[in-house]
């Protein structure tokens, strides 16, 4: 087997790899079909079958992505990129895949297939949502298939722009317009940071291809600038704290299958760009401290996202906050991988990178499932607000079962997929003491504590979500009349449910599949932290065998069931609900919905414990004076710290700059001439200084 090193980042089995043309041609074909679907959707938009055509096509293409990614991961990535017959003026465009991009393409394919499948059965939205959807998929796939900075940024910006069109699709509502505007601002910020980041690398390397950049890693302040710009640029798209403000607003505004795709795949594409920039293109020789900013931001995102998920009362906003938390976990893993690699701890770097990759895939799948469940609930029960739902387990049993699996995975319960990757992540965090720097040890210890807390908070948030939506009694007449969704939608929910179960049971196999991606991230042929279907950590000191855990749980569950059956052999009987002695409310036999716990009520302990410090939560009680007949009033609110700390100063800065720029209009002719003269003289002086230096 000939291992031919390709730069620092990738090795390829040149003899065994399939003809690159086949895999990459299939990928290019998929991209072409998506663009064609986007173009077709414009004239056909109002046709009755247009949605079926577009989403069906997207489903087939997404399955094609899965096939391409699996081929590339199993048989080795194609060594040579595919040169397209067109491109930017200076060079032909090229498409390529390596382990890392194939892994994320697999995620994109799975998420895209589930979302498209769900959209097939969902009632059609406005016609303007059709053309951007295939283009959104195409933008993400193009970002992953890029082998140079230009194509990557082209795909990234295409992804940002068309997803903006999808967020703004329902623009009759003012809050959706505001969400779309904020989304666009953050997209521009992401582009504005990533372009100079790649520019710094390209200027250093003298070329925009990834091979050239890998060959000339940045040093000194240039490297630090790339780190900061990449964190801000990719972080703004991934929803990393403090650039997360758009996420809880944009996800509810978009149609459900689009928010599933945005949360499951788009944020991961941003993580891919971050990993590509920091772990691959900057070379394997970066110092250990590079991991610290990622660790800090990741831990902060995990905590803030999980806490907010406990306080929100809109199901999709809640899921968006949980996305912030999970992105935090993934970035935490990447930061640890960077730090371990810098400290020359190869196996631990592979452990942390494996945790990050596995969690990215797992989260992509179960979050897609949960967003689709939110869409199904919105379709079947007519609301996203937790306080208008309840008791749906009777009306929508399939959806409830799928939601239970998804919520349990998001709550990281074994033997589901969320537990496997978070276990790996915590194992790698607990190995943080192996880096000899005391500061780093303290930071990893704190990050481990925060990550554990965030995982517990996430479990609480998922419990609250499932309990409020599916258990209890209906809280509104519309919720009481809920119906199960169509067969296609149920199928689209069952697909990611099955995947969540499978990914949870066989994480070791999956990590074996991720070995090429680990090689890219750790910069050396690395052993995946897995043994067969098991996960191992810390040189075999700890292990997690999901099948055994599942077996034990099944045995325990069956034992309990048998015991119960033996102790009470009579069949279960359903009786009327005791509603605390209250008379029936306006909703007839369901009792007064206020007699049930509300979303705000369940959130109250956490809001008082943590929210007052972290989220500026406030409560106010206004009681009527004795003798007054008006009702008492209780209000609680919280404010994300990114509002007053980031958005408000940025808006004030914008206003100040605008006011200054406005003053330019009042300049006299002489002052205008002086400005251009000063600019000319300044440029000449710069030229003279550069020549002298």
């Amino acid at each position: 087997m000939a291992l031919a090193p390709l730069g620092a980042g990738g090795y390829t089995r040149s003899r065994e790899s399939p003809p690159p043309v086949a895999v990459l041609t299939a990928l290019a074909l998929c991209l072409g079909v998506l663009v064609l679907l986007g173009a077709l959707a414009v004239p056909l938009g109002r046709h009755r079958q247009a949605g079926r055509l577009v989403h069906g096509g997207c489903l087939i293409v997404a399955l094609g992505f899965v096939a391409v990614a699996l081929t590339a991961l199993l048989a080795g990535a194609p060594a040579e990129p595919l040169v397209l017959p067109f491109g930017p003026p200076w060079a032909a465009a090229r498409l390529g895949l390596d382990g890392l991009s194939a892994w994320f393409l697999l995620l994109l394919g799975v998420t895209g297939a589930c979302a498209s499948f769900f959209a097939l059965g969902h009632p059609p939205g406005p016609a303007r949502t059709l053309p951007p959807f295939p283009l959104f998929l195409a933008g993400m796939a193009l970002t992953l298939a890029a082998t140079d900075a230009f194509v990557l940024l082209l795909g990234f910006e295409l992804m940002s722009l068309v997803s903006w069109a999808l967020v703004a699709a329902d623009h009759e509502k003012p809050e959706n317009r505001a969400a779309a505007r904020l989304y666009l601002i953050f997209a521009v910020l992401a582009g504005g940071c990533l372009v100079p980041a790649f520019g710094l690398l390209a200027g250093n390397a003298g070329g925009i291809t990834f091979e050239a950049m890998r060959a000339a890693p940045p040093e000194g302040w240039g490297a630090a600038a790339v780190l900061a710009l990449a964190l801000a640029g990719a972080g703004a798209k991934a929803g990393l704290v403090p650039f997360h403000a758009w996420l809880p607003l944009a996800h509810p505004a978009a149609p459900s299958h689009v928010s599933a795709l945005m949360s499951g795949a788009m944020t991961k594409v941003a993580v891919y760009v971050l990993a590509r920039l920091l772990l691959d293109l900057c070379g394997p020789a970066q110092p250990s401290w590079w991991g610290i900013p990622l660790l800090v931001l990741g831990a902060g995102s995990a905590l803030l996202g999980a806490l907010r998920a406990n306080l929100e009362d809109d199901s999709k906003t809640l899921l968006a906050c949980s996305t912030i938390e999970n992105i935090g976990f993934v970035v935490l893993g990447l930061g640890l991988a960077l730090a371990f690699r810098g400290a020359d701890l190869g196996p631990l770097a592979a452990l942390a990178a494996g945790a990050a990759l596995l969690h990215a895939l797992n989260h992509g799948v179960f979050k897609t499932l949960l967003f689709l469940v939110a869409g199904a609930v919105l379709h079947g029960a007519g609301s996203r607000r937790l306080d208008r739902l309840g008791g749906l387990i009777h009306a929508m049993p399939v959806t409830a079962g799928c939601a239970l699996v998804g919520a349990a995975a998001a709550a990281s319960l074994p033997p589901l997929s969320g537990f496997a990757s978070e276990w790996l992540l915590l194992q790698s965090l607990l190995a943080g003491w192996r880096v000899s720097d005391i500061g780093f040890q303290v930071i990893t210890a704190a990050a481990a504590a925060i990550a554990a807390m965030a995982a517990a908070l996430a479990a609480a948030a998922m419990l609250r979500l499932f309990g409020l939506v599916f258990l209890g009694r209906p809280r509104s007449p519309r919720g009481a009349g809920a119906e199960e969704v169509s067969a296609i939608e149920r199928g689209a929910l069952l697909l990611p449910t099955a995947l969540t179960l499978l990914l949870g049971l066989f994480p070791g196999v999956l990590l074996g599949l991720a070995a090429p991606a680990l090689r890219v991230l750790t910069g050396r042929p690395a052993e995946a932290p897995a043994r067969g279907a098991w996960l191992t950590a810390g040189e075999g000191a700890a292990g997690y065998a999901p099948l055994a855990v599942a077996l034990l749980l099944a045995v325990a569950f069956l034992g309990v069931a048998l015991l119960v059956r033996r102790r009470s052999p009579n069949a279960t009987q359903r009786g009327p609900v005791w509603n605390c002695g209250f008379i029936d409310g306006p909703f007839g036999p369901f009792g007064d919905p206020l007699a049930q716990p509300s979303a705000g009520g369940i959130a109250q302990p956490l809001r008082r414990m943590l929210g007052e410090n972290l989220l500026r939560a406030r409560e106010s009680v206004e009681m009527p004076r004795p003798g007054e007949t008006r009702p008492g009033h209780y209000a609680s609110s919280f404010e994300d710290p990114s509002g007053p700390l980031l958005i408000a100063p940025a808006a004030a800065l914008r206003d100040r700059i605008a006011a200054q720029a406005e003053r330019l209009r009042d300049l006299t002719i002489r002052q205008c001439l002086s400005l251009s003269f000063a600019a000319l003289v300044g440029l000449l002086a710069l030229l003279a200084w550069l020549e002298a230096g």
Partner: protein
């Protein structure tokens, strides 16, 4: 061809003369004298172009010299004088920056021009290098004049000086096509016309050509 040879020395002398006249334009206190200096600069430009025609053996440069002489040394100064007489303007120069500071700024600009041009053009013919440095200085001094004088006519003069500098740079380079020269000359004529109309308009409206007066009538400044 270096220092001490006739073609170099004369070209250098003529370029230096233009620069000197640019400085003279900066310290004149009467509009009439400014126009005289401009005419002299135009004449020297014509001489420089003609000399380059001899040195480079390029007959089209004689035509350039002729146009420059006719337009810049004769017609435009006459037109400006006519304007001055017709408008019955103040004959004194109204400055925004005093004469002393303008001269200091001018010296700094010349130093900057030399610092910029000489290192860039290392390896080019010596005569072109010196000419370029001088021409850039004249251009910069023309712009300086435009921003340090309040009188509209003096701003037109600043623009003319700037244009003289550009032509000095153009004739110093061998193989400059005549078409460009003609078009630039035509452009300057157009600019002169525009400037004249502008001055007449201001005169008719406000009885002054002080542009500071104009600012009060835009309704924006108090």
């Amino acid at each position: 061809m270096t220092f001490g040879q006739l073609p170099y020395d004369v070209a250098h002398l003529l370029g230096g003369g233009m620069l000197l006249l640019s400085f003279m334009l900066l310290y004149q206190r009467r509009v009439g004298a400014v126009i005289n200096a401009l005419a002299m600069q135009g004449g020297i430009l014509a001489a420089a172009a003609a000399w380059q025609g001899v040195v480079q053996d390029a007959p089209q440069l004689f035509l350039t010299a002729l146009i420059a002489f006719a337009a810049k040394a004769v017609l435009i100064p006459l037109a400006l004088r006519h304007l001055l007489r017709r408008l019955d303007l103040h004959r004194t120069v109204e400055t925004a920056l005093g004469v002393g500071p303008s001269m200091i700024a001018g010296v700094a600009l010349v130093a900057l021009a030399i610092l910029v041009v000489l290192p860039i053009t290392a390896g080019v013919r010596a005569i072109a290098r010196e000419d370029l440095a001088l021409a850039l200085s004249v251009v910069l001094l023309g712009m300086l004049m435009m921003i340090t004088r309040r009188n509209a006519i003096l701003q037109v003069v600043g623009l003319m000086t700037l244009e003289n500098g550009l032509i000095l740079a153009a004739v110093g380079v061998a193989g400059m096509p005549l078409v460009v020269e003609l078009s630039t000359a035509a452009l300057v004529m157009m600019l002169l016309v525009v400037g004249g109309v502008f001055v007449f308009q201001i005169r008719e409206r406000f009885d002054t050509v002080d542009i500071g007066f104009l600012e009060r009538h835009r309704g924006e400044s108090p």
